[in-house]
Amino acid sequence: MKGQYDVIIIGSGIIGLSSGYYLSRSGKKVLVLDRSEFGSGSSGACDDMILLQSKKAGVTLELAMESLELYRGLGDELGCDLGFKQMGGMILIENQRDLAVMQEFVEQQQACGLNVDIVGRSEMRRRQPNINDKFIASTYSADDGQVDPLMVMKGFIAAGKELGMEVSYQEGVIGIDRDGRGDWKVTTALGVTVRAENLVIAAGAWSGKIGELLDIDIPVQPKKGQLLITEKIPPVGETNLWTASYVVTKLKPELAEQEEPDPVKKELGLGFSFTRTVDGNYLIGSTREHVGFDKRATFEAVEALSNQVVDIIPLMKHVHIIRHIAGFRPEVKDGRIILGEWPGMEGLFVATGHEGDGIAMAPITGKLVDDYVCRRELPKKVAELNPQRVLV
């Protein structure tokens, strides 16, 4: 790692690596810098879902659908197994109120072209025989899928390196300037200086800290999520699962505020997600906490997550937890990603704010970063994601 590049990307999570790969494919000389190790950030501490159903109709859903299309061919393109599977997804609905909210939500998604339906009790139980009787209905989309994030990252690195991409770990960025020629000059904690015409900030929840080096305010907040990982077990149902309350609280936070009487659960922002990895471990989530960058797992979370999953899928009571992890979703207040060139700073691009959708959105985000940097024409809808909107 030395000298001059076309593009320097800060952050080697799945977004940074995807961007690096697509830019390398366009013939750019790319350097990806990371302050820590492979998979040390949120891309190594998250679940594996490509969940279309949770997205509001609109630009995010459309991009997620495009991202899924990219994933279909990505394994062949990168020449490796990504653990990509489409086993479908279901959002379990517990009461009439949630059913009404979900019906409206699903109709909007259908209008957007998403293959999703509300299914009744018998179909729900056929696909998920082990769930608690209390659920009255569910959504179902055969298109929801999953990948192994670490395998995707490994694939981007391997294919990117073939194209000349460099990835450098333990290289925290401590300074960013413009040099006399107008290039970005990036200094790392090890004292190395590298230059590039273009700079991409893809540092997830930590993007705000990189912004500070440039005196700009990238308004992403870390939203902590804690997950339990189980031993490998046979499948307990056909699809991945969520509960409507998780989605409803996202759509209508005011309803959730009134509802949760347990202060501990409220503090944790407890929701339910349940997915089986390609290896057979279940990932059980999740919390949504605003506690800064405190990555420690908490007792309250393991207790709440454990009790919740046994309530929803009683059979899980026999299963062992082998690991309890935590990560930080990069959250933006308006719920949309920040993607594009920073106003007034030519050659500075930002790709962050994916919250819980980084894995699902990685291919399309990387491709769009490539389009931005290469000054290609962009689809109109992505203007909604432009950083302009978050400038105060």
Partner: protein, 368 residues
């Protein structure tokens, strides 16, 4: 949720001694151990200890364990058995799972971690076959569960664990076909080694195990000679008909609970590798967390007990059960005994290593 003043994790020689010391000082103590019986390795150590008289030379480990237990009982220490500590949060909360089935949260003003050490693995072709096991596993099977894991044994490693477990396997009725040592010299204390040698067990120094053979279980083991660069010498392979291969390749401090709790670590090869940094009070980089025994550097039961006492004295003092003078006096007594234990050719190295840790802890606190 359970409240206590001092939670001690691990009821081996270090943990028991720490708990006793805290209780003597008047602290409310909860002693937590994952096994069905307290005593840790002591109840597997059916051999006689040696060293100085005041360190109970000539007494068997099991006997020492019984004495410590009796004392703990007399002091009304709350002992939780079959209780696995699964995590330590915020330097003061312990997540404990009892009988694999019931979760408890313990809040403690001080925590003493005495989780001991874990056996190192050595990999070779076929090492995952049933019949290949840690020497500790074999020892647990014969001395605790009273079941022989096999009839003809090959022991890998001639250190104390290797020779002691070999002898105990013979006491339990097995035959030890060979003790294999990669180094050119034997590693165990002369007393233990001589006993096994007298019993007719052949030693193979400068040899290593190449392969375990068998379809569903170990049927034989192949060893090979090593040259002075530790490379196998072709043509020197020997095959032994054995049904069990035991691995005694040293121990590593079991630091995961301490590391997970947030204690800083240092690397001291002479004491087993990464170890929580600690000061002369056995306190880690977290003010409320102490360590004692093999987790603080692999040594012996006698040093583990002294370290346990140290941790106990200082934890109790930190909670106000001893004044400064009392604390220093008691601590000095223990340090005197520890110095004796760490003298002599074997102890010297450990004392130097221990000094290195204390120094690294000092640097650490200066930095903070």
């Amino acid at each position: 949720m359970v409240r206590t003043e001092v939670a001690v994790v691990g009821a081996g020689p270090a943990g028991l001694s720490a708990a006793i010391e805290c209780a003597r000082a008047g602290a409310k103590v909860t002693l937590i151990d994952e096994n069905a019986k307290p005593g840790g390795q002591l109840f597997k150590q059916i051999h006689k200890f040696f060293g100085s008289r005041e360190h109970r030379a000539g007494i068997r480990g099991i006997r020492i364990g019984e004495e410590l237990l009796a004392e703990a009982q007399a002091l009304n220490i709350d002992v939780w058995l079959n209780a696995e500590v699964c995590g330590i949060y915020r330097g003061s909360e312990l997540w404990v799972v009892v009988d694999h089935s019931e979760s408890r949260l313990v809040k403690a003003d001080a925590i003493i971690i005495a989780t001991g050490a874990t056996e190192n693995a050595v990999s070779f072709n076929g090492w995952s076959l049933p019949g290949v096991m840690g020497a500790g596993a074999a020892q647990t099977m014969i001395n605790l569960h009273r079941v022989l894991p096999g009839n003809r044994i090959m022991m890998i490693g001639s250190g104390n664990v290797g020779v002691i477990v070999s002898y105990q396997l013979m006491q339990a009725g097995a035959e030890v076909a060979a003790i294999v040592e990669a180094a050119p010299r034997l590693g165990g204390y002369g007393v233990h080694t001589a006993k096994v040698r007298r019993a007719g067990v052949p030693f193979y120094t400068s040899h290593t195990v190449l392969e375990a053979r068998g379809s569903d279980h170990v049927e034989s083991a192949v060893i090979v000679q090593l040259d002075d660069k530790w490379q196998p010498v072709a043509g020197t392979e020997k095959e032994f008909d054995v049904d069990t291969i035991c691995i005694a390749a040293g121990l590593t401090p079991l630091i995961e609970l301490a590391a997970g709790a947030g204690c800083s670590t240092c690397f001291i090869p002479a004491l087993g590798g990464h170890i929580p940094a600690h000061d002369e009070k056995m306190r880690t980089s977290l003010d409320t967390v102490y360590i004692a025994g093999d987790i603080a550097g692999v040594e012996e039961a006698s040093t583990a007990m002294e370290e346990g006492r140290l941790a106990g004295i200082h934890a109790a003092a930190a909670l106000g059960h001893y004044g400064t003078d009392e604390e220093s006096r008691r601590s000095a007594e223990v340090w005197k005994r520890l110095s004796t234990l760490r003298s002599g050719p074997f102890g010297q190295k450990r004392r130097e290593a221990k000094d290195e840790i204390l120094n690294s802890r000092r640097t650490l606190s200066e930095r903070v």
